[in-house]
Amino acid sequence: MIGRLILAAAASALMLSQAMADTTLKLVEVITSPERTVTLKEIVAKFEASNPGTKVEITSLPWGQAFEKFATMVSAGDTPDVVEMPDRWLSLYANNGMLESLEPYLAKWEHTAELNDRTLQMGRFVKNTAYALPYGFYLRALFYNKKLFAQAGIAAPPKTLDEFADDAKKISAIPGKYGYCLRGGPGGLNGWMMFGAIMNGSNAFFKEDGTSTMTDPNFVKGFTFLTDLYKNGYAPKDAVNWGFNEIVSGFYSGTCAMLDQDPDALISVAERMNKDDYDVTPFPKGPAGKSFPTIGYGSWSMFANSKNKDLAWKLIATLDGPEGNVAWNKKIGALPIYKTAESDPFYADPKFKGWFAELGDKDVTPLVMPTYLEEFAYFADSVAVKSSQQALLGQVSPADLAKQWGDLLTKAQQKFLAKK
């Protein structure tokens, strides 16, 4: 241990003297986990090797506090060159002029043409300029527990929301088991939006004039669907507080039988469940025969005040280049950004068929959240959590919930339209 410390001290002294002549790029990752950081370091090492004289300093923020930590750092002037940008943060940083437009770089990049349409579409979400280059997509699908389904006498996973409700009821009849791993706590907004949109048969959040579609009676039916699930005990009582970790562990511990999640949950589940005990299927369709699973992404952005913009772009290009990107996505479980990647043997794993089936189905349209609204992050992380919990607990009716959210979003959208 002492030996290692001395070695580390000597190494850093050496590097310090060398670094005087080097350029150092600062990279911040925010959706941090130990395995991810290892993969990131590997990709970065390749970058450093092909760009001698450049060092990359990686800062890994704990995900639970990443938002506030990064905001504090940035507000005090401690900005990186490249940062991992979750879709929900993009509007905040881009609209405040902190990010560099990647358009000039993309115009000259040899791989731009190989990116699938969604990639550029999402990266350009704010002001129609690419302030971020997505590295992968998180698309919802339905995980279900085959063992519990068999136990409840259900032959196949639900294809419609009605079947979903029915299956949830049957499984909850088994003592100690529940049908749905409801995410009532932080991060649960996607679920509410999804059920609402599916019941409404449309993925539009706003009408032409900026009013929210949430107050449409069918959208409200989606909210009622969820509150009924909770009230009838088809989801665990504790679920009102559940966040990502709890719903995933609820699923792999066999407490609840159905889970709507992205491919990154697959990693945790695959580690802890026997692969014959679960499977992934496209998310059920609504009365209109359509389904709208939510889609989100993670991306890389460059800060506008970076002193090494060209070098920073090269780093982003390495991270998002074909080999880097596929290796990265395999580790983190997101869907790739390249058109050709879908034929990679990794994605041929039967568990991925659920997602690819969704992508190929014409009645399935991924639901994009209105993250271009500046207020959206606060809405999703605070207001929505509290009010949706109130709805689950019966303190507020689904119709009132929809009205509350509708009013807030209408205001935000109309403000946004006025600024255009």
Binding site: F67, E68, A71, T72, V74, S75, L92, Y93, N96, G97, M98, G184, G185, P186, K237, D238, A239, V240, N241, S253, T255, Y378, D381, S382, V385, K386, S387, Q389, Q390, L393, Q395
Partner: protein, 308 residues
Amino acid sequence: MVAMTKKTPAVGSRGFDLASVLEPWVYVSPALLLIGAIMLVPLGIGISYAFRDIVLLNPFSGGFVGLAHFVEIWNDPNFWNALSNTLEWTVASVLLQFVFGLILALLLNQPFRGRMVVQALVFIPWAVPSFLSGLNWAWLFNPVAGPLPHWFVAFGVMAKPDNILSDPVHAIWGPIAANVWWGIPFYAITLLASLQSIPLEIYEAAEIDGAGPLRRFWSITLPFLAPTIAITLLLRAVWIANAADLIVVMTRGGPADSTQILASYIFTQAFQRLDFGYASALATVLLLLLLAYSVIVVFVRQLLIRTD
């Protein structure tokens, strides 16, 4: 050996001697410097935010808004909710910590076999970081992985093994339990110290006079303890009112803000909504409330100090 000789003023003379007037200040100066630079200056800046529109990351914010935030607070139902929760949280935590701490101190005041070991053991919770205590208790209350819900059912307190942290009416008792567990040693230590300083002759005299144990407690022990009790209640209440970490770690203020206290509300306004102006206004209100409370307690304490 002796460094140098200094002329000390003759005992009884109150002549003006700059050195001796400055002397106490010299000893206090490091503390004053540190506190001035590290606490007061930022505090001043922080309070000034309360009168400005400061939204972190928005380069266009920063304008002076006067009392606008305070008006917003008055009309904010979340604030009143947080205030009432803060009262519930503080009063319950302080009272329970005090009562159990006092009992423990009384128990430890009697010499018995193994007392030293027992004393050391029961004080250990204080050494556990409060957030770790919170995580631990959250785990204990979770029916999937902890024993408490099942014991509650066995004792007939609960119908089904549920997690009380999900119940909006009872959720606050989770963090209170963790807080009481962690805080008992503080009271026990200070009260025990006070108890041990009560001269035994007084007890003996009272017992000879025929006073029973309860009577001795009320008329000797309590009055002696009163000044200490007052100060410890003051300090603990202030610390507890400001302590958001247990609540944030165990319930994040939920479900549905039923466990949101002022301190945790300030945290969310500052770091989730990034509205430092509003958060600073809230913090200023909390500061004023606690100041008022302290003045009252100090006043009461002055009334209670016995002159020996």
